[in-house]
Symmetry: D4
Subunit: 165 residues, 8 copies
């Protein structure tokens, strides 16, 4: 059963979440994905949220750029934790970031960094939430962090070799 | 019959539109005003738009600050011209401005300057739209601009006196 | 009879409005277009505004970049609604945006987003103004929004297929 | 048993979280609070995280300003969800915001708005996470949102009275 | 005969130029001053430029805030050197600065710093231009710089005394 | 005899002034050009200023990027009008712009736009200063502006043809 | 013998360094202080640097605001380590920061934070440099950091008491 | 014996320090280099600092991008002077710059410019610190500055030739 629901404001946002989707698939973590615009398809967006809630989704990731209203609009219609990803734009994604992070008191959206790193971190954060109830996910995250440390050390060794030549 | 509908995202936005409301009242131009949040009362916001449309409102002014989604959310639910006013915030209103002006292609919001001047100009712009069908409003605007010119000249005279002392 | 007048501050701004011009032509919506600089050809700019007013133009779209004075200068000489498009520059179009949106109280300019989306939205907004008197344009906009919704749904289906592979 | 742990980078950050602390106390939601600097007391910060983990804390809120490293440093040492609050500074809190939200891929921090609203929303978001396992908290949130809607309507009525005078 | 003409976009800009006006009066340097808006009184602005040109003015200083079009509009109508002063605004004067300094190639405006220092420097710069033909003004500037150096040394002595207490 | 002296902080700034140099050469307007760094060759910079002053130079153009101190350092050592050109950098030239335009009261630098347009305008502005004593240069500028107007009209005609196809 | 030399671009910068001066005096760490402007008193600035070098100064701290050229100009004339402090301005000190930190390759300036914290940290950093040769200063810094840790713990205890009331 | 220790937050930061590493190697100045992340390998980062301290390193250069915590985290664990290099990012490196330069009072980090120039200047600054005890390094720096001056003069000559063609 999928616990993570992903909504993109536009299919052009997909490249920023692609690495994360591949990560989820590779690690057999269930998720659902939809494209729905807060402005062009507002009712459809609400319908997707309801369907997500009814099918057991526990965390919603919403990505949008520019006047990036999607995460806030999703948060307005659910009590599930909503994670927002600001997509990079011609203003470097600052417009997206401010539109997502500066939510008024009362309707929270958890915001992540602009672009790919933010997208990947939103997925890791979703897993941290799920890990509070699911030990398998916790173990997965423990292993992920260890592997990540190994990778840093390997990169350091490679660089030292390169430099000492 | 009121032709202008005003929605504030929060009652704390009122000071930025107060001068404009006084201007409308002083000149006997009908309008309706509501507080409704895009996030806290999303359904109520849609209900107000519908009521506005059914009661003959022809232009909607929406003011909001921070992740200022209100004008965009209003525009998503109507084909009436929507004018957005970015309210000043701790980020100087830049967050509000970007959240309003950087709408995705397909759902337009006409944006005005941050704070009081923007608020006042949104009302003048609403009158310019209404003036396309209403000669009385056009005459009112012609007179407004002339008075405005006189005011500049008077201020210039006063300043020259002050400086020559 | 054309109802929409477009003025570009420079012919190098044309790429940002090209998609909108194609949209107008494809949908047989009349418009006039001119290049005129607020600084290099100030008198010519005023002449064009007068000609627009006399030939039945009801909305003027003005695009400019950098110290983007054109929309404000146009607005200073007409009571027709003026829509401003900030063109992208080496400062990401922030200079254009501030120069257009931060008009002083008294002379309103309705501002749209930086670059292509803003250009397209200014045309849609012009149609929303014209639709207040013209039911055909209103019907056109109703259909446009419906088609736009369909497009989102199709894109969502395509993405879901792509992801599930 | 407290489920929410709060760490402030400095006691001068307290005013930005005070409203949220009062909210937690008024609603009898358990929490722990500490002041600890990522830079001045790095080992103590790690000790607090360990103590939080061992005492059943499930979400950590970390507030910091300027080169606001605290939330990221906390996230580096735990798999619990970490919520970051950028404190307002002489740079309007932009330095705090960028230092918190732009985390590298691999160590996620969920970021909220600058200052008071962000502080309050981080608490609401923590409750949304806890509500995934705790129906009482979910009911509390359902009621909170309803009360919030009533408050908007009341404010709207008050404003309409004020304006109609 | 006055050689320096000053135009303010609004009388509210006067405080930023007041120190400079006092400096001119105290040193018996002739100047003319006017308030005229690029947007509210466009024709009057051109009339003032013509009058300035005909009465022997050789440098024009123009101050404006927000969408600060005045210096550019003045420059569009004259070949006299135009000096622009960006007035401080709610956006810290960045909107004014960009609107003045980012002029398109072909119509130059010499821009000075935001607010008081910029205002004062524009007057000194005007004197540097006039000094190219007028040795008295050159001598005045030579003396001004020497006095300025003495002032720095005196301030240094005072501070050293204060610190050594 | 050359009246315009140009100093570049680095030879890598040349592309931003190249168009202007070609303009000067094509129109047989004398100028001198040097590369000298405010930081790497401070004494040489002063020597060049002295040589400029002694050889009849009347306006100095200084271009620099990043911590663009050159124009201010030049202005500190001369009473000739100094025109500053902010060169484009990885920060879009904002660092250069602020370093040049925000001079303290007492030592004026006339600042022009970031990059090519600013470079070209600084040359036109230098000519406007020289035109105060030299009627040939004035006539040259009158003709330049007329040619510039023709160019706008031609571009407008070309665009209208393109659009009407 | 004083090892630290401090130069302020203006006596109005003193409040930002006052806390640091008190810290030096209280701990009997020798220093010299001067006011000297990179622009108004360029030769005097060089004279001070020479005197500093000849009297055994080993680190120079330079504070300036706006087009804050002082630290870079100092660095251009010495091989001693130069520490720059950006003073807060109407642009929040961003102009000062960029003018100091964005030095071209070849002439380094070590930059610290905007305002008071930056001023204090520049002094601590100067002591870290001196501690490389002076064990007493190293011991002083070791103790300073321990005291700083105690202070954090005390503040934490005080806050916990306050919150638990 | 190496006196300079370099830590990169990621191996992808290497291109920004490569020129500096080549400079050190070419001039036979000893250094050590490591990749270690403040977030992914926090303990390893501390271990490297300890090893640096024990092996005679006297200055640490730390480079990082985005929420660039590495320099501050290093400074929190040592009394050696720490030099921070903000790496260029999608936000032009502004996020990196603010995360490094805006350190709280008590833990200093000396910050250099964004990207390559900053990286190179951090190495020169490290040499300036070492030169306080090492005359050979001082002589090296004296020669470096002289060579740098020659290079400027040569570039000036080349440009003048190019222009005079």
């Amino acid at each position: 059963m999928s616990k993570i629901g992903i909504i993109l404001g536009s299919d052009s946002d997909y490249p920023y979440i692609e690495k994360s989707v591949d990560f989820l698939k590779k690690n057999s973590i269930g998720f659902e994905i939809e494209v729905s615009s807060a402005h062009r398809t507002p009712q459809r967006t609400i319908d997707i949220i309801r369907r997500f809630e009814n099918s057991g989704i526990e965390v919603i990731i919403a990505a949008a750029g520019g006047a990036a209203h999607l995460p806030g609009v999703v948060a307005a219609h659910t009590l599930l934790p909503v994670l927002g990803i600001p997509i990079k734009t011609a203003l470097s994604g600052l417009d997206s970031l401010y539109s997502i992070v500066q939510m008024p008191g009362g309707i929270p959206v958890a915001t992540f960094g602009i672009g790919n790193s933010g997208g990947f971190n939103s997925v890791l954060f979703a897993l941290e939430i799920l890990a509070l109830k699911d030990n398998k996910i916790k173990e997965f995250l423990v292993k992920f962090r260890k592997d990540q440390q190994k990778e840093v050390i390997e990169k350091s060794e490679r660089l030292k070799k390169l430099v000492s030549q």
